[in-house]
């Protein structure tokens, strides 16, 4: 068995309110920073054990879509970061 490290970048869908981003932006703007479009998302990393890369990627996709994100609100991008010693 081999071991792969994945990173899921989870962001809010277009049009969904991002209260955290808005409040943070308001405060930073008051501090006179030239900042716009602050958006909050999640970063989840995890390791998957599998026979090969393909299987690992399929599992990671499934886990991310079914468990890590809320498809009503969120989009995601999944990246295979590296393989590590099992």
């Amino acid at each position: 068995m081999r071991k792969f490290v994945f990173e899921a970048l989870i962001t809010l869908k277009n049009g969904i309110l991002d209260p955290q981003g808005l409040a943070t932006q308001k405060v930073l703007k008051r501090l006179k920073y030239p900042i716009e479009n602050v958006k909050f998302g999640k970063l989840i990393t995890f390791e998957i054990e599998a026979e090969n890369e393909k299987n690992a990627e399929e599992l990671a996709e499934e886990i991310t879509y079914k468990s890590l994100i809320n498809p009503v609100l969120e989009n995601y991008e999944l990246k295979l970061l590296k393989e590590i010693e099992a």
């Binding site: 049009g15 969904i16 309110l17 991002d18 209260p19 409040a23 809320n70 609100l73």
Partner: protein, 558 residues
């Protein structure tokens, strides 16, 4: 032929009525406006005839109230069942936000929340349950309003269609109560709160359709408790300004419904400027702006000139602000964008959805139940343990410990200690006793007696802490009103509630109706929920702990 109206859920006969009222074909914008205002959610099409039978005390305000000493205790219950089915956390959170703004719009400071929750028993229901509880916790705690009481019940009929009913109680000095009635022409409509996005567009008509499953993905409303807390403080400050004449929250069908209802109540017309509304997203169509259910927004009617003061308060609380319209003489609502008129039509037609009441008759299941014989199949001891372990009986501290039930330092009776909670009215020696109750099983077996019983149970809960019941708010959670059985259950339930309230001599000060609660072609148990308010002397509050050894225990009643 334009079939937009059918897609939006309007029926042929309704479309005919619109054409007759307008004396012309409606344009697309108008079809959208009607579809929202005439949805079950806004228009109460199936229920309004029957609701007239309730012994009501206060008509037509954002929320009703009862009086304790110099205070108006404002309270109302509302459901967020369908949004919570789709997105439990945000559905429940925005439910809290909505009911808080209803009470706030009366000029009252929200001082307590209650929640009446019903879930299914399958795996998915567990997620919904946890999501709903954390949504209430996340939002309610953040805005600093204690959630002091509630009830939770599990039954298969709520699998995929949970019931999330939330109630808010607010306090205002009686002379500080705000009105939602526009009283003169040429006053300004001022928008205060978060920006308008495409949130919950179609929410109003969505709440009135059965959930079909996978592809029900309306654009979900996300709650912003920080803005809500700011909006609470800003609204209470704004309402103290002399030139502020009326106020209304923007709930279902947002800007459209709030402005048209305020104007209609004052027999006035209004003009709305689509180019003035603060927007969060680009390229929003006028119908989207009018119908958006973006959260954390309020509408004020003010004397021209006073908007400057409002702007200051809005800025202080990080809120958006804009003059988005005005009242006008006549009875028309006029939608404008950059000086072009997009629509002009009589408000009376828009706000008066056709009633769809029809006579009902007893469904056959009632007889079957009445004739059914039940036998006790297990011994008493086993039954006793089974009951104690039942999910509907076990301790609910897992839920209420996630709620900040003490913020405000008025909670004299905390959850878990008695059948009702008590919130102190500081500066007096009076408290507001509160409870919320439902019982779907009883209401199913006998909607009339079952509903009566809920009112009486709520009253007993209040009496058990030492309070005197003063008023009721009801939330009617039922299945598809086009189904004869459901309508019959609804009618009997209304009759039961009316009868019980008359017996107790307390009014129904307001409420809410939620239809189309069903999934997989099975209606939920018919579930009227009763919120009740009582008055109590804070020096005479009773809890339910036994006090001393050798004290005697009496059973009263039969």
């Amino acid at each position: 032929m334009n079939n937009l109206y059918l897609e939006l859920g309007l029926k042929d006969f309704e479309y005919e009525k619109i054409k007759k009222d307008l004396n012309r074909e409606p344009n697309d914008l108008e079809v959208y406006m009607y579809s929202a205002q005439w949805s079950e959610h806004c228009g109460y099409k199936h229920s309004k005839e029957l609701l007239k039978r309730l012994p009501k005390s206060i008509e037509n305000e954002n929320a009703g109230y009862v009086i304790i000493d110099d205070y108006a205790v404002v309270f109302k219950v509302e459901s967020h069942n369908h949004p919570s089915a789709v997105e439990p956390y945000q559905g429940a959170a925005t439910g809290i936000g909505g009911i808080v703004r209803d009470v706030l719009a009366m000029g009252a400071r929200p001082v307590a929340l209650l929640d009446s929750l019903r879930f299914g028993k399958d795996i998915k229901s567990k997620n919904i349950f946890e999501g709903v509880v954390s949504g209430i916790s996340g939002y309610g705690n953040s805005i600093g309003v204690p959630t002091v009481a509630g009830e939770t019940f599990f039954d298969e009929s709520y699998n995929t269609n949970p019931l999330v009913n939330v109630m808010c109680v607010g306090l205002a000095k009686t002379e500080e109560l705000a009105s939602s009635k526009a009283n003169e022409a040429n006053k300004l409509y001022v928008y205060v709160g978060s920006k308008t996005g495409r949130d919950g567009i179609h929410g109003a008509s969505f709440a009135s359709k059965e959930l079909s499953g996978k592809d029900d993905r309306p654009s979900v409303q996300v709650g912003d408790p920080f803005s809500e807390k700011n909006l609470i403080e800003a609204t209470l400050e704004i309402l103290k300004l002399k030139g502020v004449l009326a106020c209304q929250d923007m709930g279902a069908a947002g800007i459209l419904s709030s402005s048209s209802e305020m104007s209609f109540k004052g027999n006035l017309g209004c003009e709305l400027y689509m180019d003035k509304v603060p927007l969060r997203e680009e390229n929003m169509e006028p119908w989207e702006i009018l119908l958006s259910e973006s959260q954390e927004r309020m509408l004020f009617l003010v004397e021209p000139g006073e908007e400057k003061e409002i702007e200051k308060i809005a800025k202080k609380y990080f809120l958006d602000y804009a003059v988005i319209g005005k009242t006008i003489n006549g009875e028309n609502i006029r939608i404008m964008k950059n000086d072009n008129i997009l629509s002009e039509m009589p408000i009376s037609s828009l706000v008066d959805a056709p009633s769809m009441y029809r006579p009902t008759k007893e469904p056959t299941y009632i007889k079957e139940i009445k004739n059914k014989k039940f036998e006790m199949a297990i011994d008493l001891k086993t039954a006793f343990y089974k009951v104690l372990k039942d999910i509907n009986v076990v301790n609910k501290s897992w839920i209420f410990e996630q709620y900040d039930y003490k913020v405000g330092t008025n909670t004299l009776m905390v959850p878990g200690k008695a059948d009702a909670s008590v919130v102190w009215i500081k500066d007096t020696n009076k408290g507001v006793a509160v409870t919320i109750d439902g019982n779907g099983l009883y209401s199913y077996i006998d909607p009339y007696e079952g509903s009566k019983n809920i009112v009486f149970e709520a009253a007993r809960n209040l009496v058990s802490v030492g309070a005197k019941p003063l008023g009721v708010t009801d939330n009617m959670n039922f299945g598809n009103p086009e189904d004869d059985m459901v309508m019959w259950q609804f009618e009997k339930s209304i009759e039961g509630i009316s009868e019980a309230c008359k017996t107790l001599n307390i009014p129904v000060t307001g409420g809410n109706v939620s239809f189309y609660n069903e999934s997989e072609n099975m209606a939920i148990l018919p579930t009227p929920v009763i919120g009740m308010i009582g008055e109590i002397d804070i020096n005479k509050i009773m809890d339910m702990t036994f006090k001393n050894p050798t004290d005697k225990v009496y059973l009263i009643g039969k």
